[in-house]
Symmetry: C2
Subunit: 134 residues, 2 copies
């Protein structure tokens, strides 16, 4: 372990409170080492945390984030049965992600339309103002 992070360092870096980090630990998202009772966060913890926050931004619950991260971060390769289950989980989560992608594209599309109409309105107003001030 290169240079472990304190809870304060990590919470500042990710703009979280120490309370949140402890909560994530409680939910199994991270598992920092200890020196006495004090938590020491490794780069692995830091990575898992990054992935967790990414999942959160996409609307996954902490529980779902843990599932997804555990897919990325497997202890042992495991037997064929495990691997098949893993593939299933991946397909399941990918389906959700693709749905989100469609939602995202639709939302961005509509948003573009609204902005265009908005700018057109502003242009009309601007033209009127110019006309009056001539």
């Amino acid at each position: 372990m290169e240079r472990p992070y304190s809870i304060q360092q990590l919470s500042r870096e990710f703009d979280l409170t120490p309370r949140a980090l402890r909560f994530y630990e409680d939910k199994g998202l991270i598992a920092p080492a200890r020196r006495g009772t004090t938590r020491l966060y490794s780069d692995r913890d830091r990575t898992r945390l990054r992935l967790a926050l990414r999942g959160k931004r996409l609307g996954f619950s902490l529980e779902e984030c843990r599932e997804i991260i555990d897919l990325y971060d497997p202890g042992q390769p495991g037997g064929a049965r495990q691997l098949l289950r893993l593939c299933d989980k991946i397909r399941e989560h990918r389906a959700q992600l693709l749905q989100k992608l469609r939602d995202l594209e639709a939302t961005l599309g509509t948003m573009g339309d609204v902005e265009a109409r908005c700018l057109a309105e502003l242009l009309k107003i601007d033209l009127n103002v110019r006309k009056l001030s001539q």
Copy 2:
């Protein structure tokens, strides 16, 4: 108003409970008409509901969903000041959406890698099985 929907119809269509629909109404996401005390949902309500659920899937809170939907669904064009504020809101929400898009692409990417490794492992196992059964 063509053919208004009952609360049951709408809740079945979107796989929600009537309670959820009433909750969304309370939060200002929809505003169904009434016949007496009974709610009558219009196509506009239905559309707003679709947009709300889309927003939810992307991890927005109901409050944020309401904001976004109200952008799409403006009463009057409004004056220049309103329109500029609208453009600002759009840019703000778009920034969030683009962040989500980056998160989504990163997650899908990693997920593809994991699946590839998983399939490679399965292939190795399969080859071993074939070798032993010869």
